[in-house]
Symmetry: C2
Subunit: 391 residues, 2 copies
């Protein structure tokens, strides 16, 4: 299996980063922030293009300061300097980390203190769907010594990242196509009698062979006519006639995720399971239509919820029917009651209705779309309404 040939160019042009920065600075100004303090891989990558798997090591904090005017300043461990120097970032300050007594804090405090002050507030990654990547006690100590207020920058950051650029969408589209191809090929690679773990491994290898960089998310679950949950596994359970095999993947290409699942019938499954799959497929269809500029995420939720309720849903434990995605597997907004985000052009969303049609028997379906002025455009290859069969 050779890698898919349609890969978009890796990385982004300096012009793209300049546009991202300019737009971000407009939004920061609306939030009355003098700058953003960023510590997490995805936020730092968004503004710099810096890529590393070294985020797996929790030892050293990394920082990026994005002022409301002017260029970003990277404040990072020495170990990261050679690679950061390859990005468009020009102002790179380093310290010889790890240095437990002062792991970049003095250096960072100096940079933040020197920012032009207008509102006297900077935003940090303190709010919903974000966790700051530095020890909390060090964050609190930093906050004490700064001459500016550190406020919750998460709503501002999500406003920035929630609308994708064309180049970002091309990346997500590519990884969605890779995973779609791999899902389509799976029935040729798995048989009744294989176990979940082996099915999952074959899909993982196929996705890598088709050109994905990594697969951070690939749960696999099976059960008679449906599954009890959708976020854990695989286990050693053997696939038997009548099962539903559920697979979901967040694989990445050049930092960007897909996030969609597929269900397979193991041999012949019950009519109830088939009907439930058709209901979530129909709900997906309706969700895709509802996901258009001007509608809200709650509108999308309501459209899908009605269909699965009418089809006999007794609930599901997921808590929402889809969400944003991009540099992360899940991002705001959420299709759920109370989340009244207005859908806008450039958002990339999952459409993910699910239903438990009998206790412990859940079927969840999912596609990824980008919002255009005409409505949602599929980034994934639409799943067939009829369950694909593994025999």
């Amino acid at each position: 299996m050779a890698p898919r040939l349609t890969a978009p160019k890796r990385g982004f042009s300096p012009a793209e980063f300049e546009r991202r920065l300019a737009r971000a600075q407009t939004i920061m100004a609306q939030y009355q922030l003098d700058g953003l303090l960023l510590t997490t891989p995805h936020n730092i990558r968004y503004f710099t293009g810096f890529d590393s798997q070294f985020w797996e090591s929790p030892t050293r904090p990394w920082f990026l300061v994005v002022p409301v005017t002017g260029l970003p300043i990277a404040v990072i461990p020495e170990i990261g300097a050679p690679e950061m120097a390859l990005t468009w970032i020009k102002d790179i300050r380093t310290w010889p980390a790890p240095m437990p007594a002062d792991d970049g804090l003095s250096l960072l405090a100096g940079v933040i203190s020197a920012l032009p002050r207008r509102h006297g507030r900077i935003g940090a990654e303190l709010g919903r769907e974000m966790t700051i990547r530095m020890p909390v006690i060090e964050f609190l100590a930093l906050r004490e010594r700064l001459p500016v207020e550190v406020t919750n920058g998460s709503p501002c950051i999500w406003d920035i990242r929630m609308v994708k650029t064309e180049a970002e969408v091309a990346h997500i589209h590519h990884i969605c196509q890779i995973a779609s191809d791999a899902y389509e090929a799976l029935p040729g690679k798995v048989r009744i009698g294989d176990n979940e773990r082996e099915a999952c491994r074959r899909l993982r290898i196929d996705i890598a062979e088709r050109g994905a960089d990594a697969t951070p998310f690939l749960p696999a679950i099976s059960g008679p006519g449906g599954v009890p949950q959708i976020v854990c596994g695989p286990h050693d359970r053997t696939l038997v006639e009548g099962d539903i095999l559920f697979l979901d993947t967040g694989s990445t290409y050049d930092g960007y995720f897909c996030d969609f699942d597929r269900n397979y019938a193991i041999g012949k499954v019950s009519d109830a399971a088939r009907r439930a799959h058709e209901a979530v497929w129909d709900a997906t269809e309706a969700g895709i239509t509802a996901a258009r500029p001007g509608n809200t995420t709650e509108d999308v939720w309501r459209t899908m919820a009605k269909i699965v309720q009418d089809a006999g849903s007794i609930g599901n434990n997921v808590g929402r029917l889809g969400h944003g995605l991009g540099l992360q597997l899940t991002e705001p907004p959420s299709h759920m009651p109370g989340d009244n985000t207005v859908i806008r052009e450039g958002m990339v969303l999952t459409i993910e209705p699910g239903m438990e049609y009998a206790p412990g028997k859940m079927i969840v379906h999912e596609e990824n779309v980008v919002i255009t002025v005409e409505g949602a455009r599929l980034l994934t290859k639409r799943a067939p309404r009829e369950l694909p069969v593994i025999s």
Copy 2:
């Protein structure tokens, strides 16, 4: 390539978790804590065995409360309940997440408030080499409403996790053997003229085929006679005669990491590069010998640092010469000046000397060991002193 047949049983017995808990509670008592509040995948997995790739989604916080006496209490989103119920944890409280207005906080506050109070303090993941996995503003709000002090629990948690059980060591040994085999086979799969990305992909696939569950960390870098950094890449750079190709992997088996690298000569490399590789190999040998109970991490560092300095090192940007590993790619302690951790039986450590022998030409070597009463025992297959050649 069939998976390696010597895999240890997945998961751990309830008796193992009981022993972990009892030992942890002894350590917590020494720290005068009434309990620990845990939010991160690795800490929760250590005490529960709960495994999920869903941690990739930042949307929902998860909590585990480990009291100084009695059993752990899981406070988790509904979506995780079916799988948590398969672990040895009996007390599982859930809420229908995501619920932005109160995402588990009231439920969690109730659980913590009901703990027996002796010292009036609980420990949270606030310190070095840890980042709490919940929004900081929600953590600060929680802290306000608790009737007990929330203190830095990280030193206590690292004391608990730093010494591994036999079953944990068996897991790490297995993934180290898988990666060793894949590294050994790599010269048969890569040729002069391939690029870094393709070499990296072939290694990733081979590691998966041999039975690893995931490969969260796999940087690849090449350069004439050495590399400028060791934590980023691969890039599209083509491998040419005289290069060193550096690969490092943190792959996992059942949650446990290996973390070691290998260097390859692309065709014929300079004498200086070969000598530098031999120097770091010799330093590794000395580091392995120095890593014995009673010595400190600084002793291990000094032993290796002397050898690479004598061999002409002009520095390196890594900042330390090895560290702990286990459920995470890197864990305390660090082999570096000022880290005077006393090495104890059961610790799993990397021995990782590196040197820049000319500007931009760095060679770093690494093995993984477990500390026994007699000294360090290799978990990896020792690399050859002479650079393996890709031709």
